[in-house]
Symmetry: C2
Subunit: 324 residues, 2 copies
Amino acid sequence: MKTPEQLLSIVEKTLGEIAYPVVPPGLYEPISYTLQGGGKRIRPVLALMCYNAFCQDVEKVLPAALAIEIYHNHTLLHDDLMDHAEVRRSRPTVHVKWDANTAILSGDTMLIMACRFMQQTDAVRKSEMMDLFIRTMDEICQGQQYDMNFENRADVTETEYIEMIRLKTSVLLGCAAKMGALCANASETDAQALYDFAMNVGLAFQLRDDYLDVYGDPEVFGKAIGGDIRCGKKTFLLIRALGKMNDEGRARMLQTLHNANLDPDEKVNAIRAIYDELSIDKECQEAIEAFYNKAKENLEQTSLSAEAKDYLWSFAQTLLNRQK
Amino acid sequence: MKTPEQLLSIVEKTLGEIAYPVVPPGLYEPISYTLQGGGKRIRPVLALMCYNAFCQDVEKVLPAALAIEIYHNHTLLHDDLMDHAEVRRSRPTVHVKWDANTAILSGDTMLIMACRFMQQTDAVRKSEMMDLFIRTMDEICQGQQYDMNFENRADVTETEYIEMIRLKTSVLLGCAAKMGALCANASETDAQALYDFAMNVGLAFQLRDDYLDVYGDPEVFGKAIGGDIRCGKKTFLLIRALGKMNDEGRARMLQTLHNANLDPDEKVNAIRAIYDELSIDKECQEAIEAFYNKAKENLEQTSLSAEAKDYLWSFAQTLLNRQK
């Protein structure tokens, strides 16, 4: 089996070799810019690994793996526009470097391009792969809508939050893993177990994101701690804390969170003090651990060799052990 | 063969029966709103007619026909956002009734929905149909980009303009017609001839749009004459007129067109007077006629019965003879 690093270099090489039409001017430059922006390429590497766990000729799953990566970058492009985010991977976002209309149209074109790559798949279960891809893209739109709706709601439950991050981020990891399995013509049981494995890794990964924002080592984390608190974002930590408080405590906490006159650093400290008092840090770690264990169980359920399981589990661990 | 009216009612009924998920709130309402907004449903009806010219069971091509209509409405939704258009089919556009972010995300979801409908096709040549659909969607994005680029260019040639409208609007008509043929497993020659037929009808249709804007009967046209002149839009008439003038005349005409101090009605009269003097009205009619004749030739090249040819030609004529 090829190492994640070897597969990453195959992904980067293939992405770098995409031949973009030169006309009309302005349509494909933002797409090339976005796809050349780096990133960890977790999804295509995962698709290649899951394929490689069954079969040798990893090139076969490349079109599907790239389709997923292209679609992922499409969502980043349109989400950044919707969020008015100005920087992505240390570079100006497309709507800043070009303009909003360019971001809309190039983003649409990327979505179509993703479908074209998926359609280039040469595998007996191609139709099933396309079905999975389309269902996943639809779920991701639902996740984004939930995320937008939650901004205006004070009563988001933990279950709702988990479902939102599942749809917005984890199903694409599940899709990538299952895509590799389907392309390798694995059994339905194996394909579904790998989907669940990657989805649970994704959930753990996302909760860890919430955790690191407050409890990460600022030196290693690479950005200021407490960004989510500063912008009043609903996270697992916040929702769990609110759920453990009485009405009065809840009101006071929300007041602190949305107090525009409070110094941002003081706000972060005040909110973190509440988290500490309620042991939210420990509980968040436990929730991460629970998804982590589910993912491990899912992997155990597959018919893969011990070696192949180790191979996939190591990758999951590198994702989950990241400090930034 | 079913009449266009019968096929239209099948399309409307099927569109009306689409079951939208009820959650997340806000994602599917704009899609339902857009798809229930009426319109002539030219593209799905054309797909059904082209299928019906070969086969009886028109239900078979319905998923593909709806995919095309849904995609078409996706482009209207995103184009209206990019153009800041406030009204579509006498109702507020999605970004006005909701907001820009809703228009972006619901529009993306419609594109994915279109792919899902196409993927539901049950036909031996399904993969070829999906290829055609994806290629066409890509071409339409190119057409939209050309259209946007042309706004900032004073030197757009007639050839470039025709290519822009071909990509932006005519290829989807071609795609609809060919989709019907492919679904009916028609010969490649017939499928391509029907594509060219509908594409040329589309080009004639689009030039007629340019013509009616200046020379339509205001009573029948349903809106004020000269809208394109008022907003300084590049049309076939304008590009043809500019091409027939010397540098001095061209400069004077563009000055008139972009003179913000000139009364709009006077501007329309002044520009129309130039068109009249240069016989642009007659030349535009001839250009329409030329595409119309090409379409007729394309239809003749098919192996269809005289009856089936008449059937499709009558539909093309109703499109081209419209006065609004």
